[in-house]
């Protein structure tokens, strides 16, 4: 039996860097992965999957791992496997007496990890194809004769080592080693003498090693110990000679790959602790979108994310988002884009519920970064981008457009938007279109969504985006009248 990757099939690297940038996927990945530097994991975040099946394969693994017991079992297993690998790495450069120990402990760690993990997982209900496959794989290893023999000899070697106790005397430049044969513990004597005084705040003297514990001096003491404990030494030596190779390649690969899941779950939990939801997305086949309580992960980390809903039965696929400035419109669009993107990686998404089509591509059109060397104007760039998107868009494309055509008059902007969106509609593509031109929201074939002011203070945003017609009164006018600058009052003041 050979190992099959716990990641299932790999996706395809995003062709356009722009989408990763606009949806802030790299920032997301860096929040999730933290200080993890494994290139494999970073790459995975840039490789959306091609098929529903591939996504479901991963989501099923997640469903298993969302059981706390399963998660803990896997996490511990991975830690131990990595530890065993570390020991073997250290072994390469160690002194001979240390090599024996490093090798033995790599084996002991690995054996315990594998057995314990297998036991734990067998008692838990694991349903995903990915984890069940891996269980079958390690079951075979554990039942094999080589593993059994290795375990037996490793325990034997450990027992031998545990018997060794020596008395050491350091005097001047000499180190003497004897077999230990009793002696009085000086610390205990002192402790007893001063027990008659009340315990205060107990301080601990820390020993901070300034040299390695695997030095030639340590090796020399070990050598002395081995000379005084000959049989024990032979047993340790034999183990290393008989079992030069310890870890199975498939197990090593699993331990590396499964961290994709573990790190994401760890991240999820940190947000869930603060009251934010995550859900396993479902993929709809009838064009429906129904996402409830989705929010921006990066804001949630600061504790300031406001959840929103977005839904359609699939007959209308274009959402036009208008409303007050700084009202959360862009965040709304970006966050929805992120939900879709994460679902395409086979990851649980930041929402209470998420039913979405399996989009084949996500396209973004955000305000261009100013580049003085660029020969095209902003408006031109917008149009280039829009047309480029339209060329490739089809019924399974999601377009996130943020203030497209905003550098011209609103009449012109309206016209351009209308044309663009009509084209989008023709292709059956989905689009979230953020704009400050309210007329766009009045187009018959779009769903109008509006950023709402706060109820307590209507001059402040609530960051809630709700369906409905765009507001009739502008926020700026309301604030002005609060300071007596409405038409009537101003007129009455000016004599």
């Amino acid at each position: 039996m050979s190992y099959r990757s716990i990641l299932g099939s790999r996706g395809r690297r995003v062709g356009e860097d722009q989408v990763l940038y606009d949806l802030r996927i790299r920032e997301l990945a860096s929040e999730i992965l933290g200080r993890e530097r494994d290139e494999l994991l970073w790459n995975l975040f840039q490789e959306p999957l091609d098929s529903v099946d591939a996504a479901v394969y991963r989501l099923d693994v997640f469903r298993d791992l969302m059981n706390e017991s399963v998660y803990t079992a896997v996490e511990r297993f991975v830690e131990k496997v990595r530890l065993a690998l570390d020991y073997l790495e250290m072994e390469k450069d160690a002194f001979e007496p240390h090599k024996l120990g490093l090798h033995l402990d790599a084996a002991l760690t690995y054996i315990e990890a594998l057995e314990k993990f297998y036991d734990e997982m067998t008692s838990l209900e694991v349903r995903s194809q990915g984890l069940r496959g891996f269980m079958g794989y390690i079951g075979e290893i554990i039942r094999g004769t080589r593993f059994k023999a290795m375990k037996e000899r490793a325990l034997e070697a450990k027992n031998a080592r545990d018997k060794i106790r020596i008395r050491v005397r350091i005097v001047g430049d000499k180190v003497h080693v004897w077999r230990f044969d009793g002696g009085e513990d000086l610390g205990k004597i002192i402790e007893k003498l001063f027990a008659r005084f009340r315990e205060g705040e107990v301080k601990k003297v820390r020993y901070i090693p300034t040299t390695s514990g695997f030095s030639h001096i340590h090796a020399a003491i070990l050598e002395g110990a081995f000379k005084l404990f000959r049989d024990e030494y032979e047993t340790l030596k034999r183990f290393r000679e008989e079992f030069p190779k310890i870890l199975d390649e498939g197990v090593v690969a699993f331990a590396r790959e499964v961290r994709f899941y573990l790190l994401y779950l760890k991240f999820m939990k940190s947000l869930m602790k603060r009251g934010y939801a995550f859900t396993i997305p479902r993929f709809t086949l009838d064009g429906r979108i129904d996402v409830r309580g989705f929010y921006n992960i990066l804001l949630a980390e600061k504790g300031v994310a406001i959840p929103n809903d977005i839904s359609t039965d699939g007959s209308k696929r274009i959402f036009v988002v208008t409303g007050m400035n700084s009202g959360g419109k862009t965040t709304f669009a970006t966050s929805f884009g992120q939900v879709v993107y994460l679902a395409k990686l086979g990851l649980p998404v930041p929402a209470e519920r998420a039913e979405i089509p399996f989009f084949s591509t996500i396209a973004t059109a955000y305000p261009a970064r100013e580049d003085p060397r660029e020969s095209l104007s902003r408006l031109e760039q917008d149009i280039v981008r829009a047309v480029d998107i339209l060329r490739r868009a089809d019924g399974s494309t999601l377009i996130i457009a943020n203030e497209l055509f905003s550098t011209t008059t609103s009449d012109e902007g309206y016209v351009l938007s209308k044309i663009f969106l009509e084209e989008v509609r023709k292709r059956g593509s989905y689009c979230v279109f953020v704009t400050f031109i309210p007329q766009v929201a009045s187009l018959g074939f779009v769903i109008s969504m509006v950023a709402q002011p706060s109820r307590e203070d209507p001059t402040k945003p609530s960051y809630k985006i709700l369906p409905g017609p765009p507001p009739s009164e502008y926020m700026a006018v309301r604030i002005a009248s609060k300071y007596g600058l409405s038409y009537k009052e101003l007129k009455a003041m000016v004599k």
């Binding site: 240390h98 513990d185 005084f197 050598e223």
Partner: protein, 494 residues
């Protein structure tokens, strides 16, 4: 184990508004006299005076000890001196600024132990030669004598000499994970004679000798030594800390009594009487109670006050009347005496009987609150609320013109609600107020529990600065007006 507790101050918790009480009742003046420039005494006094819990038996326990300390003042002062000197010498001469160098710690801590053992010897001598009578001082003496004897002192000195053992360390060690050396245990060194005999007996030994050019190896040997000493370093350090802690704690507890000796001296010099208070749940009674902080700051013997009040669960003393009549001085003097009394100290009076040893809280007018503003009123109420959160039955609340940051009509309603509620829940209230609505409604309603005091004015109009029982009468509006409006808006035409 050496056990002593001269203060019974556990739990060491101050009342919630300790800082207000300290300022309002001018405690720093009193503590200044008790401490006479000794910071430790000042700290202890502040803590004892403002401690939250002070049950009757603790008060009596300390009272007995205070009497004992005044009687054996020579020994108490000497013990305090030894404790402080020992502590300070060890503190000065032992450098334990880094706890990551075991060898260094072992050296410093064991020299500290040897300093303190010398002082223990001195202390033992004083204690053995004094006959204390109070439970507090007796049990300190007994515990010391039975735990610290010649044998202990000798052994402690012997260990100090072993720990200065120069360059050789003996230890046992095992082989653990990764074949690292683990569980080092420092052993009592074998004497040389037996090693020789072991060698002769043919015991197997392995010896490694460092190459003279191996500088890295020498560093590692040093490091190994440090590693082995880490365990015993912690032990010696904690032994030293325990000893040091003993001296610190002894000095702290004694400092309270040294303060009492100082305050007693002050009263005697000023010709002010002192009395040990009594506790009687049905009585608030005092005879010639002297305002202590005033005596201290003025250097004169001030006018004392007397009062006799039957207490039924709780009492209210309401004070009103002309300014500069001694109202606030009275309030402070009563608060100070209550604090001294519950702490187990004597009070400056001929006689002093209080119904409980409850905590003392103050809510005094802050000058910035003397203008009407709901913002300020809210702050004032907030402050009151913080105080009330900690209050218990039997406590004392001292209020000086509370609730004047809003108009008196509504302030009276608030005051009436607050004071009635406190009184009915068993809390004692002493309240200086000019709130007429309050006075007229409250005094008749609580005639059984409340007493009204006013500054005494003789028939010729002179003020005596004494307070006497009075009755409610209208006519303070102008005074209130002046108080709030200031002197320039006095309504008179030029």
């Amino acid at each position: 184990m050496i056990e002593f507790d001269l203060l019974k101050l556990e739990p060491r918790e101050k009342i919630a508004t300790a800082e207000d009480v300290r300022l309002d009742l001018e405690l720093d003046k009193i503590i200044g006299v008790a401490a006479s420039n000794d910071k430790l005494i000042a700290e202890t006094w502040l803590e004892v005076l403002l401690s939250k819990e002070c049950p009757k038996d603790v008060t009596e326990y300390r009272q007995e000890a205070v009497r004992d300390a005044l009687k054996n003042r020579g020994s108490v002062l000497r013990m305090y001196q030894i404790a402080r000197e020992g502590y300070e010498k060890a503190y000065r001469e032992v450098f334990l600024y880094r706890l990551d160098d075991p060898k260094f710690v072992v050296n410093e801590a064991s020299s500290g132990v040897s300093i303190l053992v010398d002082y223990l010897e001195k202390l033992l001598e004083v204690v053995s030669n004094t006959s204390f009578t109070s439970i507090a001082f007796r049990s300190l003496a007994d515990s010391l004598i039975s735990n610290v004897d010649k044998n202990f002192i000798d052994k402690a000195r012997e260990i100090n000499s072993i720990l200065g053992f120069g360059s050789s360390v003996d230890f046992s060690v095992e082989i653990g994970v990764l074949n690292s050396l683990v569980n080092p245990v420092l052993l009592l060194p074998r004497n040389e004679g037996s090693i020789v005999s072991r060698l002769l007996s043919g015991e197997k030994k392995y010896t490694y000798r460092l190459d003279p050019r191996d500088e890295a190896g020498a560093r590692i040997l040093e490091d190994l030594r440090n590693w082995v000493l880490a365990g015993v370093a912690t032990t010696v350090l904690n032994a030293f800390d325990k000893l040091l802690g003993f001296f610190r704690e002894l000095a702290r507890q004694l400092s309270f009594y040294v303060g009492a000796i100082n305050l007693s001296d002050f009263l005697e010099k000023a010709g002010i009487p002192k009395t040990y208070p009594e506790i009687n749940p049905r009585k608030l009674y005092f005879e010639n109670l002297y305002p202590l902080s005033l005596a201290i700051s003025s250097g004169r013997k001030p006018v004392p006050n007397s009062l006799d009040l039957d207490v039924d669960g709780s009492f209210a003393v309401i004070v009103t009347g002309v300014n500069k009549g001694g109202k606030t001085t009275f309030l402070k003097s009563l608060g100070q005496a209550l604090l001294l009394a519950r702490a187990g100290l004597f009070v400056p009076a001929e006689r002093f009987v209080i119904p409980s040893t409850g905590a003392v809280y103050t809510h005094f007018l802050r000058e910035e609150e003397r203008t009407f503003s709901y913002g300020k009123f809210e702050e004032e109420v907030k402050r009151f609320r913080t105080m009330v959160e900690a209050i218990k039955r039997g406590d004392y609340v001292l209020m000086d013109e509370s609730f004047v940051s809003t108009n008196h009509v509504e302030a009276s309603v608030v005051a009436e609600n607050v004071v009635s509620a406190l009184l009915d829940s068993g809390v004692n209230v002493i309240y200086i107020t000019f709130l007429q609505d309050f006075l007229h409604r409250f005094i008749p309603k609580y005639s059984g529990k409340a007493v009204l005091l006013v500054p005494e004015r003789l028939s010729d109009g002179t003020r005596t600065y004494k307070l006497v029982k009075g009755s409610i009468q209208p006519g303070y509006a102008l005074e209130v007006w002046r108080k709030i409006a200031g002197e320039n808006m006095n309504g008179e035409t030029a």
